[in-house]
Amino acid sequence: MNDMTPTREQREAALEGMGCKRKRVEDIRFTQGKGNYVDDLKLPGMLFGDFVRSPYAHAKVTKIDATEALKLPGVIAVLTAEDLKGVNLAWMPTLAGDVQMVLADGKVLYQNQEVAFVVAENRYIADDAIQLVEVEYEELPVLVDPFKSMDADAPVLRPDLEGKTEGAHGPRKHHNHIFTWEVGDKDETSRAFAEADVTIKEMISYHRTHPSPLETCQCVASMDKVNGELTVWGTFQAPHVIRTVASLLSTIPEHKIHVIAPDIGGGFGNKVGAYPGYICSIVASIVTGVPIKWVEDRMENLSTTSFARDYHMTAEIAAKNDGTVTGLKVHVLADHGGFDACADPSKWPAGFFNIVTGSYDFPTAHLEVDGVYTNKAPGGVAYRCSFRVTEAAYCIERAMDILAQKLGMDPADLRIKNFVKPEQFPYQSALGWEYDSGDYHTAMHKAMDTIGYRELRAEQKAKQEAFRRGETREIMGIGVSFFTEIVGAGPSKNCDILGVAMFDSAEIRVHPTGSVISRMGTKSQGQGHETTWAQIIATEIGIPAADIMVEEGNTDTAPYGLGTYGSRSTPVAGAAIALAARKIRNKAQMIAAHMLEVSEYDLDWDIDGFQVKGNPQARKSMKEIAWAAYHAPPPGMEPGLEAVSYYDPPNMTYPFGAYFCVMDIDVDTGVAKTRRFYALDDCGTRINPMIIEGQVHGGLTEAFAIAMGQEIRYDEIGNVMGASFMDFFIPTAVETPHWETDHTVTPSPHHPIGAKGVGESPNVGGVPAFSNAVNDAFQFLGSTHIQMPHDAWRLWQAAKNLGAHG
């Protein structure tokens, strides 16, 4: 060995594999403005589509007259529901088992609902034409309050469902009722409450908000009538699912539909579903024979495509005097808007809300969710969370604080007392999940020590006394949040979308020179898959990440997968990548054995190649093996070096974390200042710590926005308030707090590399941390629960109602 031979450390570093803070490959194009987003696409002859939308939240549509619009030069067509009926597309199925109007079919159910689709030579003419389409409406009584949806005299929102007593998820008990979903043991839970020393009950609302990625939803549809092939470029988090749905709806064979998701400017759940814009663009392209581009504007995005949350959760906890919890009861009233377009796995009408027992060892629990219709936009997407897990985490974390208050216990101590213990994993929860791994105590103690929890409580006590003495007008809150997520949907035994099992996939091809192309069924929208997927492969097969190209989003070339949402990419596709890579390594071992003239069992894997046991000088690098795979494979072996893996996970993964928020609130202005925010995440094995921290920063910023002001609100006649960035709170760099991140590592025992997923944890854990800080601050003034969002106006009102203004 001469001095030029790289050391093991140098060889390892050269791979830029797992655990390394590898700089992102995507950034080269993005920092130069060379990303390829949907709206950047220009095709010859391309036309633009745009919607005529309803100004009313509930009305009959009695007449649509496009005569004047069609006279405008440059206007090609105006599509209405009547036109779509000709191709059986006036309505489309939703992911939740409901149906949804593509264009208003006789009535509208929410403000800004799509009424007609104008096709014109450019965006400006399309916009002009919208003003010229005359629509006559007959207003109907508007239902905004979900608590009134099932009143006997509530207006009938969905005449199309008249007489249907059975919905996609069981019996319907009212004309505006969608489903009731029940989990757990009702009798046993009632017994726990009857025998409890202490109980609490609180109605905790998680308001309606919106994922609002900076790039809105958009597509270009192009029908090639000669070959009968349809190509759709779009902002799709799940391109393969979109292709399957497009095939089922259009009857164009799946192999003649090409769905391409280019670079996506953020998704956060907004870009999972299928929207009227996609359907109308496809139909318009079929009708006109030329490509059609549709680009949502921000107001359309916020008011129509996929709200999130809108859960009204009544939580009850039974406990002993010492703080041991003995039972949990939750009822949810779920406001789904005019159609149930929830993007959940098909069998889960309230997603995985039954993770609501959280990090605590509840011996028994009972959950009931009622979904109802209102005159609001449809949706119910997982805004940076696994299906309804944010709502569940908020519910239990708020409820635990309320219990601590009633018991006079410290909220952190109450949590620790009730944590699932390390030796209980795998842990069977009372509502049916098997938590894979966790060490909550270690994480919590590390977090409390780092932030100086006891000292902060002492400071808070002193401040409260100073406030009482009139020496300060500022109150201090310490928000504690310890969340357990459930991500990685999911095992085929219980997770599917429209019947397609929620596996994911990877294909890896090693070329003769030892460079690699790999493709997955997932689709990055900013998560950095091109960087991190290559890191997994680099570690598994010993080829530098720089020599590995990752490609996603083209259904022609990528293996079938269910896409990226619900923090499923790493738990599912990440596993498929590792397993496909291991198939390659296994074959490489046989080739190396042949090259070195030893038995494959006499070889050890060593970073980037195989070496003979006891003789490390006799080795073959993966680059040499790759060449041999194409040039001189062992006799009888197929040439080549590539593999495909379709991974059906045996279980979900359960990331967790301890978040602390320290906040000071001025009772006279209602202005809340976040003094410190500390987030400890345990997402199992960490693939790229830089990207993990970046995701935590971003998710916390979204959590901050949601908790402190971001809301899609409706007035009493169904006008959507907050449908522009003037009214819908997106924090700027000025308001956004400074984030402190930390971690523990508890690998998932069932995942090939032990990774659990992290992108959504900060949203799930962050919202309760902020809200608990606010509530904690007001507690000593006699408050039990203040509803979100906690903007300055509402906090000022809360202070006033509690008598803090004298």
């Binding site: 700089k23 130069q32 910023t701 700027t732 760099a733 956004t736 984030w739």
Partner: protein
């Protein structure tokens, strides 16, 4: 075709003189993206809030979604496409954004870098608070800004010839 009168405009974009006829109502962002094929600047809100469309016009940051192309007549414009060094290498800001992980989905990045470029012309050595205020017209949904601030600090240090000390966490 629309029968609206077309107006001639002339401007210098990324150092190159361009001449076109536009409708008076054509927004600058559409002119840049569709007439000049400069698709780096993006459209995120159409109401001047998000800053994804930020370009530099006569040394000032402007939001090209709320300016008409005719208002840029005779102006000097720089977009993200004009940000790299003359030899094609990444500028200090572009490099800073990559080194400090100042971007994720990349959609706000062109506007953010273009704004930061002008900010550093106005104030070559900004404090963290000045950076945060200076980019408050540009929204990012992915990063939480912390690493964007570091990216700009990195670039400022590099341009000033000083060492960049990453702020302790």
């Amino acid at each position: 075709m629309s029968d609206i009168e077309q107006i001639p405009v002339t401007m210098t974009v990324n150092g190159k003189k361009v001449q076109r006829f536009v409708e008076p109502r054509t927004l600058l962002i559409h002119f840049l993206r569709e007439d000049l094929n400069l698709t780096g600047p993006h459209i995120g809100c159409e109401t001047s809030h998000c800053g994804a469309c930020t370009v530099e016009m006569n040394g000032m940051s402007v939001k090209s979604c709320t300016l008409f192309a005719v208002q840029a007549n005779a102006a000097e414009l720089t977009t993200i496409e004009g940000m790299a060094n003359a030899d094609g290498t990444l500028s200090a800001l572009q490099e800073g954004f990559r080194q400090m992980h100042g971007l994720q989905c990349g959609f706000c990045t062109p506007g953010m870098i273009t704004r930061a470029h002008t900010l550093l012309q106005e104030n070559p050595n900004p404090t963290e608070d000045e950076i945060r205020m200076g980019i408050s017209g540009n929204l990012c949904r992915c990063t939480g800004y912390q690493n964007i601030v570091k990216a700009i600090q990195y670039a400022a240090a590099k341009l000033n010839g000083t060492d960049f000390q990453e702020a302790a966490e």
